[in-house]
């Protein structure tokens, strides 16, 4: 019998207590030494001490030493369990002890940071929380994680740079991939760009190279026009339904594609260039897009049949089909959308010469010329305004429709704006180019600063405004139809008036809307509505749902370099999961005490997970049983049992009651 088993079976309640100072984060408010000393009086506590950083190597060593000296269980009172519960459980694993005999108590976020001005009360509160942790871990029964065989296949949701990178990296690790892209074409937003900083690579060449690598890889099945519509299961075994909407067009259309597009009578806004031009209801995203033949936009197609009359390979049938898949892990790479300025924001929507940076990129890419003509007139002066829809200020910027503000920095846009200023000066050397930035320029990446230096050398003129003193735009009848008034910090708050022909708004990034995915997979969003990782530093690409990983801008505003790094990280994490034959699940599932169970089966309707609770016959007696692979451990079944025969392992009612008692008790009475 292994040492681990022996310790578990002895099941002694010898608890070691550790109080972390977290530098001064906790100890500046909580008397950690006092709490540790006091904890020695608690029942079952055999060791108690405080230490500067419990998560550090020497801190973890203290736990090891306590285990060596006879402690069988431990609590650490420190930061949030979301940050270091796993770190401390791993100390137990390293010592071949059962990690579930560890309990994490939060006295940083939930004590010292929430009560910095009431130090005595914070110390008293910490004592009660420590007592509660000791009470809980003392009652911990033996827990063993159930195991399941993992499906060695990963689903990647989103076919932009992040999704494609993740798919390719996974396939390189011999992991089969199913990639679903909602739109009819691959490549995401990078296909809408022209040249990419740093190094001014051709955006389409870059993304096409990656797309070709993905399409030619036999391990990757790519589905465009496809979406996830149902989701069930757990890490290692996710069951999903993919809805495929027919494209309406096959490659058979060949050279007749142009004719079919031409004859289509439905004309709609072209999202590819952000509404600058129109497209038809049968359309190709751009020449050379992937796939290389058109698709039908079923929202706008009237099925008049004209296209099918002039070309082969068109079927005006859009009934979707469904495919059930089973995968071990999921990479979410659904990307971003550019912020849409509201009508009147710096004159947007009120004058045609106020446009967004993505629009100008598309226009310049599609209209090579020696002059920039806008609205029928040569642009002699262009002004680029930073931070539109980013770094919002309360009471100054207008909230979005849902009432929220984008407080965050969108990160990509300072450099993209400098990049554009240089491009304008290179293409149109006589043009006067102005950049108005909010307080500072954040061209933070390797080589990005060069764009600023070059722009200065090219005589791009910079103005800096405060977040509370946004530039004002006026529409005029003068030679240059727009006028910007700005209080410029670079000239010690001089009021500057800039007449201009074109205003370009450097719009921020917002997460692509994926309410169905969030609802189905229960992946948490942060305050800024991007998806949250479990830990921003230590586990940055893992969603807070086991087996789900985040790639690219689904997680935060990123440049394409950062999106690719994040995607490779997500792929590596998913590949680690796929490398295991057996996966450990959470041990915290419902358990039925069959000697108490009278077979009323009231738990069955209380449970929302099909098959998690089932009826069984044992020695002629009906009892309820739990399938640990299907049970989520929510505990909703617990109060339904009149005999009190159900508990959630590791979170039993006795443990909760012991915690309540400990929390209620005056520390001075211990």
């Amino acid at each position: 019998m292994s040492e681990k088993k022996k310790v578990d079976e002895k099941n002694e309640e010898k608890v070691a207590v550790f109080i972390c100072h977290c530098g001064g984060n906790i100890s500046d408010v909580v008397d950690c030494e006092g709490v540790a000393e006091w904890a020695k009086k608690l029942p079952n506590v055999v060791h108690s001490e405080d230490y500067a950083f419990m998560c550090s190597d020497p801190g973890q060593k203290l736990i090891e030493e306590a285990l060596d000296k006879g402690a069988t269980r431990a609590i650490v009172a420190a930061c949030s369990p979301r940050l270091h519960e796993l770190t401390f459980q791993n100390v137990f694993r390293r010592k071949e002890r059962n990690p579930y005999y560890f309990e994490h108590v939060n006295i940083r976020e939930q004590v010292s940071w929430s009560h910095p001005h009431t130090k005595d009360e914070a110390t008293e509160k910490s004592k009660r929380l420590v007592a509660s942790g000791v009470a809980k871990v003392s009652l911990q029964g033996f827990l063993e994680a159930p195991t399941v065989e993992a499906t060695k296949k990963t689903l990647v949701v989103g076919g932009g740079l992040g999704g494609l990178r993740a798919a390719k990296d996974l396939a390189d690790k011999n992991v089969p991939v199913i990639l679903v892209e909602k739109s009819p074409f691959l490549g995401g937003r990078v296909t809408q760009l022209d040249t990419l900083y740093p190094k001014d690579d051709d955006a389409k060449e870059l993304i096409h190279e990656l797309i070709e690598e993905v399409l030619s890889n036999e391990l990757i099945a790519v589905h465009t026009n496809s979406e996830v519509t149902s989701f069930a299961g757990s890490i290692g075994n996710y069951d999903l339904t993919i809805k495929h909407t027919p494209r309406g067009v096959t490659s058979k259309i060949g050279e007749k594609a142009a004719k079919a597009i031409d004859i289509c009578p439905e004309v709609v806004e072209n999202e590819y260039d952000y509404g600058l031009t129109k497209r038809k209801a049968i359309y190709q995203k751009y020449p050379g897009s992937y796939p290389s033949y058109p698709a039908i936009d079923w929202v706008n197609c009237t099925k008049c049949g004209k296209c099918a009359e002039v070309a082969e390979g068109i079927t005006l049938e859009n009934d979707p089909t469904e495919q059930s898949i089973n995968v071990g892990g999921i990479v979410l790479a659904t990307g971003f959308k550019p912020y849409e300025p509201y009508e009147g924001e710096y004159g947007f929507g009120q004058h045609p010469n106020v446009i967004t940076l993505p629009q100008l990129i598309r226009h310049l890419a599609d209209n090579p010329s020696e002059e920039l003509i806008w609205n029928g007139k040569k642009v002699e002066r262009a002004a680029l305004i930073h931070c539109v829809g980013s770094r919002h200020r309360e009471d100054i910027d207008k909230p979005l429709e849902d009432g929220s503000l984008n407080y965050y920095c969108s990160r990509y846009c300072c450099t993209a704006t400098l990049h554009m200023a240089n491009e304008l000066k290179d293409k149109f050397p006589d043009m006067h180019v102005f950049e108005l930035f909010k307080e500072d320029i954040r061209s933070y990446g390797w080589g990005y600063e060069d764009y600023y230096t070059t722009a200065s050398e090219k005589n791009v003129r910079f103005f800096s405004f405060l977040g509370e003193e946004l530039p004002q735009v006026e529409i005029t009848e003068k030679k240059h139809p727009l006028s910007i008034t700005v209080t410029d910090r670079l000239t010690f708050n001089e009021t500057m008036i800039i007449p201009t022909d074109l205003i370009v708004l450097a719009v921020g990034m917002m997460p692509e809307e994926i309410p169905d995915i969030i609802d189905m997979m229960k992946v948490p969003q942060g305050a800024e509505r991007f998806l949250l990782s479990v830990h921003p530093k230590l586990r940055p690409v893992e969603a807070d749902v086991d087996g789900i990983y985040l790639a690219g801008t689904v997680q935060a505003p990123m440049t394409s370099t950062e999106a690719a790094i994040g995607a490779s990280g997500a792929a590596a994490k998913a590949a680690i999961l796929m490398s295991k034959d057996i996966i450990e699940l959470q041990p915290y599932v419902a358990e039925i005490n069959e000697s108490l169970c009278k077979g009323h089966m009231t738990c069955l309707p209380a449970c929302s997970y099909a098959g998690a609770i089932y009826e069984a016959e044992v020695d002629g007696k009906t009892v309820a049983r739990v399938n640990p692979a299907l049970c989520k451990g929510c505990g909703t079944c617990v109060p339904s049992c009149p005999e009190g025969a159900i508990q959630v392992k590791g979170w039993t009612l006795d443990q909760y009651k012991a915690q309540v008692k400990a929390l209620a008790q005056d520390p001075s009475e211990v």
Binding site: E109, P524, G635, P639, W651, V660, A664
Partner: protein, 136 residues
């Protein structure tokens, strides 16, 4: 001195792992403050508790109990609906036992709902303070 003068209610905050407990962390990260006489007990989901459990909390001396559930955002199907039904039943029993129902509050707090957390804490303290210490 009247019984309610200087009375600082002792509150039990029941959180859930995925929504309100990270929400409580977010309160700390945002350096927002609330009464230190409130103690968080995290649960996988508060739908686990039978009616009697709430009376146990009052018997142990908690003047108020606030359940910070994940609302319909809880990761568990049907859990919030079951919890809401349970709390309705608890309210009826509280009335029968002569315990003011304002001492028990069901709320939904998300992982980034720092302000809602503070608001709800303010509300329960405000509701319990005039009632004075729990008597069971």
């Amino acid at each position: 001195m009247s019984e309610t003068e200087d009375f600082k209610p002792k509150i039990l905050i029941i959180t859930n792992l995925k929504c309100s407990d990270p929400g409580a962390d977010y309160v700390g990260q945002s350096h927002l403050e609330y009464t230190p006489n409130a103690f968080i007990m995290r649960t996988k989901d508060p739908s686990v508790f039978p009616e009697e459990f709430y009376f146990y909390c009052f018997e142990q001396g908690f003047d108020g109990v606030i359940i910070m559930s994940g609302g319909t955002d809880t990761p568990f199907k049907g859990a919030y609906e079951a919890l809401a039904k349970m709390i309705d039943n608890v309210y009826v029993s509280m009335q029968e036992r002569g315990i003011e129902i304002a001492r028990l509050r069901l709320t939904a707090i998300c992982s980034v709902c720092a302000e809602a957390f503070i608001k709800e804490m303010g509300r329960i303290v405000e509701a319990v303070e005039p009632l004075g210490p729990i008597k069971v």
